[in-house]
């Protein structure tokens, strides 16, 4: 089946954050009110109750002057998802049309996926002891609807549809942007990590949008899952007690925001 995906065109986004609210509404996620820290963005990263955010990044250069870049950020629904690979309980599945879906009933909250994900997307929700993330609105798409975020986007920065067709749009758009004042415009998600089921048209290089230029899965991960898979049935308790737990705890301690257990205001 052809992949269905969300394309985000940064040249059309006005950072209204309607998508962020629509996502909360559809998924019935509580607000996470954090104090204003000096940036409109308010949430520095996605969290257990905020599956998507819009990054707002200010830069200045002598030629272009002030630039304010916007980027809608959420799970990238990788073709070959590291989260799925590492999950000891097989809580992750890939739908036939390309969404990486997480089943909270299977999740044991070990957060191994968080560590494995090149974008650190799955976030820990303490009140239920699970991780959460964007679902690509699989529950809507399978009923013939668009994802809630795409349906609400007024200037058409978010588009949902057949990945090949959207890729064509992206190629044309990038060509147009390059000829019209954005020489570094580029597509993101076409090749990264072997392909993401989430496409971006960027008016500048990915680093100007807070995206890793060359995203990578942390080294040990594929090794661990490939090794452990045959023994998965009896090894989980052991693995959790051993290596996985230590990865996770290290990760929690090293986490730059130290907010892994902040599952919203509970």
């Amino acid at each position: 089946m052809a992949y269905l995906t969300n394309l985000y065109d940064s040249s059309r986004c006005t950072a209204c954050r309607g998508c962020q609210v629509a996502c909360k509404n559809w998924n019935q996620l509580p607000a996470v009110i954090e104090p204003f820290r000096g940036n409109y963005q308010t949430h520095e990263d996605t969290n257990a109750d905020t599956f998507t955010i819009v990054k707002m990044i200010e830069t200045e250069d002598p030629v272009d002057g002030v630039i304010w870049n916007f980027l809608k950020y959420q799970c990238m629904h990788c073709f070959d998802p590291a989260c799925l690979k590492v999950c000891p309980r097989d809580a992750y599945t890939k739908t036939s049309w390309g969404a990486t879906v997480h089943d909270p009933d299977k999740c044991i909250g070990c957060q191994y996926c968080t560590y494995a994900c090149p974008f650190e997307i799955p976030k820990y929700r303490k009140r239920e002891d699970i991780t959460t993330k964007c679902t690509l609105c699989a529950d809507r798409v399978e009923e013939g609807l668009q994802p809630a975020c795409a349906a609400t986007c007024a200037p058409g920065a978010l588009m949902f549809g057949n990945r090949n067709e959207l890729l064509q749009y992206a190629e044309d758009r990038v060509k147009h942007l390059r000829a019209n004042g954005f020489p570094r415009a580029t597509i993101y998600g076409k090749m990264e990590l072997g392909g993401l089921n989430k496409l971006y048209v960027l008016t500048d290089t990915p680093d100007k949008f807070g995206l890793p230029v060359d995203p990578k899965v942390p080294g040990q991960i594929p090794f661990w899952k490939d090794w452990v898979q045959p023994y998965i049935g009896w090894l989980i308790p052991l693995a959790l007690a051993g290596s996985a737990t230590s990865f996770v705890t290290t990760r929690i301690l090293a986490n730059k925001h130290g907010k892994h257990d902040e599952g919203g205001h509970e």
Binding site: C16, G18, P35, V66, F70, A154, P155
Partner: protein
């Protein structure tokens, strides 16, 4: 806009933004505050035929600037300098659309010899009264009473020559010294926007409160009208001056005359003066050109109208609108023998002003006993909020109708009255020493009731109810219907003549059997008008009569109802998606006033011959003269008298609401009280002396509190207020919704890195902002998007404050309007929220 075009409304509509070649967004943050407008600009950008360029001119770099093709900064309050430079550039470089300007505007009209302008003052100024005598601001007439013109534009007293002279002082360097815009950016703006003077291009201007909330607000808009007329951009798709309303249905509110100086349909409200004493005097007053005509009653007046009154425009029909309105309001009690009950209409005191500031000043003085506050939150949204909040303490009672107990409803609980950051000028209160009795009526939200809203582009759209109201909350219509009915009950049986207006007021909106809600379609029926004889809808305002045979609550809404196969149709309920023109007119989606015209002044979309499109612009023709059928036709409803053909002298007069039939570059006869042409004056509080003339403040702006004027030695920083995408108006709705509160959780001010450094202020930390009116705290947002302005040798800083916070809701913060001054536009009294002085320091 009405002094230039005859109507004050947004000329085009939201979808039409996709048809433009260049959009000048000035004094508006369209991407944040009108996201749907932005959607259509984006469509234009993607359309290879239009390739819309977006220019943003604003003191602040906002999300609109981020998505524009060109951003040019400009110091708050210097719009006329900016636009005056543009007018000068157009004239100096002959970039104006000659055919258009000559035929459709008053550019060739000859102005009286006595008219003059010197040192920032127009002729006729009376310094002691701070007013002008407009006597000299008029046209010259020939012996036959015709306005004299010179089509060669050479006559030294013609508008073209006067305009050229007036704006010759606005050269690029002088302008940039006033506005602080970088010269290279300013030149780019001039180059790109003025390219729309070419006949095959159109340019649109979108503005909002950044233009109107100034002591020169009306003149800012007037400057737009001159630019757009010179470039030939009015009445054409992708053109126009698009006043983006602050909220949906503000258009509807003004249509329904929720203003002190008009009655429904933008007719001046009657005053207590001799020239308004009876119906015929009133009609003489409001009908252009009627002042000196010989008539003593309606019959004689009708005879004169039949023969035609020169220079009266469409407003020659005002008598029909007024009489039909009186019939709608007073029914059988209004008849030919009693002046159609004209004496029932309240007459306002001509010597008084009843606008927002004046009202609160009067309340503060204890002159007002009671207040209804419905869907507004002056403690957050009003200027000089400390004073306005204090004014509420002087009331005996207040009725508050809202979704939540807003800051206004709960003003008496304000915790800051005895808080640490206080200003010696602000008086302290406690709930125990406030006598105002507050009644709170919970109101239904927009999705919990049915009704129409007139959006910014004059489209009236019906909204069906989506959910039942929460708890005891009620639709506004129910609340006012009850109020009306109970008032009538209270007065029942009275035979005092002064009670007649209430006793005889028509009030029959009873809902269907068993329903508690009044029938909204009955309101619509009265509003849009009906024939008294059989109750059938009046199909258009041309059918309205001044003999008492028609009733109509608002003539501009006439034609919004019809009968189809015997069934009553309310056109705002239409939802057809056909758009045969491809220009986004969608004629059967909702309904637009007047008579479903989507682009007003659309006669200008064709050349003077009425048929030929502008060269190279075939697909943007909206209406045309059909010689065979002998009438006007087209994609849109012609904004023209249908039968006026080439043999009629009025054939080339596209502005039917203006007495001249032409758009007015020169606003004659005091249609704007502060000058026939715009002139740059500094805001009331300004950090720099005037450059262009000797006046600092607009010479006719009313100064309410001279002692509260902040000076730049104590308050050197310019400040402006605004909204963000995440909150709506005073935030009473959005700060109570957690999903929106989390997106903009605290009161913030934006300032440049340079100013932050100077003051030792850190990003994300608290600061105190002070003015002569008060002090507030806020969190600093130190950003590259704000930059100091270089004005010649001076460097001035500007900060920006959100005005959407208050002490209620999930997202709380200090009220920015505790700082803003009580001063407003000379014409409209719209408060000067957008440019005032303050100082800031670390908290």
């Amino acid at each position: 806009m009405s002094p230039a075009f005859g109507r004050g409304a947004m000329t085009n509509h939201m979808i039409d933004l996709k048809n433009t070649n260049v959009a000048l967004i000035m004094g508006s943050n369209i991407a944040e505050n009108h996201p749907i407008g932005m959607k259509w600009l984006t469509e234009g950008r993607l359309d290879p035929k239009r390739q819309t360029k977006i220019i943003h001119v604003d003191p602040r770099f906002t999300r609109t600037s981020a998505v524009s093709d060109l951003y040019c900064p400009m110091r708050s309050g210097t719009d006329i300098a900016f636009l005056g430079g543009m007018i000068n550039y157009i004239l100096e470089n002959d970039l104006y659309h000659k055919e258009y300007v000559l035929n459709y505007t008053n550019i060739s009209y000859i102005i009286k010899d006595e008219y003059g302008f010197e040192d920032g003052l127009f002729s006729g100024y009376d310094e002691s009264k701070r007013t002008y005598d407009f006597g000299s601001w008029g046209y010259q007439y020939d012996a036959d009473g015709k306005i004299m013109t010179d089509e060669t534009l050479q006559h030294p007293r013609c508008v073209y020559q006067l305009l050229k002279k007036h704006f010759s002082r606005y050269d690029v360097d002088t302008v940039c010294r006033i506005t602080g815009s970088p010269k290279n950016k300013y030149l780019q703006v001039l180059d790109i926007f003025c390219s729309t003077g070419e006949p095959n291009k159109t340019g649109t201007i979108c503005y909002a409160m950044g233009i109107t909330q100034h002591t020169v607000g009306s003149q800012n808009v007037k400057a737009f009208t001159i630019v757009q007329l010179l470039l030939g951009n009015m009445g054409r798709p992708g053109g126009g001056i698009n006043a983006l309303r602050g909220e949906n249905n503000v258009q509807g509110a003004t249509d329904m005359a929720l203003l002190f100086h008009i009655i429904p349909g933008y007719i001046s409200s009657p005053t207590n003066t001799e020239d308004n004493k009876d119906l015929i005097s009133f009609i003489r007053k409001i009908t252009p050109g009627a002042a000196k005509l010989p008539f003593n009653n309606l019959n004689e007046f009708r005879e004169i109208v039949k023969q035609g009154i020169p220079y009266s425009g469409w407003k020659v029909h005002s008598s029909k609108w007024v009489v039909s309105l009186l019939k709608a309001w007073y029914g059988e009690a209004a008849n030919a023998s009693n002046d159609f009950a004209y004496h029932y209409l309240p007459k306002r005191d001509a010597s008084k002003n009843y606008s927002h500031i004046a009202l609160f000043e009067a309340m503060y003085r204890g002159e007002i006993e009671g207040l209804f506050v419905n869907g507004t939150n002056p403690v957050v949204g009003g200027p000089n909020a400390n004073k306005e909040q204090e004014a509420l303490t002087k009331l005996k009672w207040m009725v508050n109708i809202d979704l939540w107990r807003t800051e206004t409803a709960d003003f008496w609980t304000y915790p800051g009255w005895d808080r640490a950051v206080d200003n010696p000028n602000v008086n302290t209160y406690a709930p125990t020493n406030i006598g105002t009795e507050v009644f709170f009526l919970p109101a239904a939200a927009v999705y919990e009731k049915e009704g129409t809203a007139a959006q910014t582009g004059r489209w009236v759209q019906f909204r069906w109810k989506g959910a039942d109201p929460v708890g005891e909350s009620k639709a506004d219509l129910w609340i006012y219907d009850e109020l009306g009915k109970r008032l009538k009950q209270l007065y029942a049986g009275s035979n005092r003549p002064e009670d007649e207006p209430i006793l005889n007021m028509t009030w029959e909106y009873e809902g269907h059997a068993g329903e508690e809600e009044p029938d909204i379609l009955k309101v619509a029926h009265e509003l849009c008008g009906f024939h008294i004889a059989d109750g059938t809808p009046v199909e258009g305002f041309a059918q309205l009569k001044d003999d008492g045979s028609t009733a109509c609550g608002n003539w501009i809404y006439c034609g919004g109802t019809t009968l189809k196969d015997g069934k009553f149709i309310y056109k705002p309920q239409l939802r057809e998606k056909d758009d045969p023109s491809g220009l986004g007119l969608f004629p059967n989606w909702g309904w637009a006033w007047p008579v479903n015209r989507r682009v007003i002044y659309n006669r200008c979309s064709v050349q003077p011959d009425g048929v030929t499109p502008w060269p190279g612009d075939e697909d943007r023709r909206l209406v045309w003269w059909d010689a065979e059928a002998g009438g006007w036709t087209g994609w849109d409803v012609p904004d023209f008298i249908k039968s006026v053909g080439p043999d009629n002298p009025a054939f080339k007069d596209p502005f039917i609401m203006r007495p001249e039939g032409k758009a007015c570059i020169f606003a004659a006869d005091g249609s704007l009280i502060d000058g026939p042409l715009p002139e740059h004056y500094e805001p009331w509080e300004s950090p720099v002396p005037p450059v262009l003339n000797k006046q600092s403040l607009n010479p006719v702006a009313k100064v309410w509190e001279p002692d509260k004027k902040g000076t730049s030695d104590k308050y050197p920083i310019i400040a402006t207020t605004y909204r963000v995408c995440e909150h709506w108006q005073s935030g009473s709705l959005t700060r109570n919704l957690p999903w929106l509160a989390e997106l903009m959780p605290d009161m913030l001010i934006e300032l440049s890195e340079e100013l932050a450094k100077e003051k030792g202020i850190k990003n994300g930390r608290e600061v105190i902002i002070s003015t002569t009116r008060g002090d507030i705290k806020a969190i600093a947002c130190v950003t590259k998007r704000f930059k100091p302005f270089v004005l010649g040798d001076d460097i001035v800083h500007q900060i920006g404050l959100l005005w959407q916070f208050g002490f209620k809701g999930y997202a709380k913060g200090d009220i920015a309007n505790r700082l803003t001054p009580h001063i407003g536009d000379a014409n409209t009294m719209c408060p000067e929220y957008k440019a005032w002085l303050c100082d800031i320091r670390r908290a």
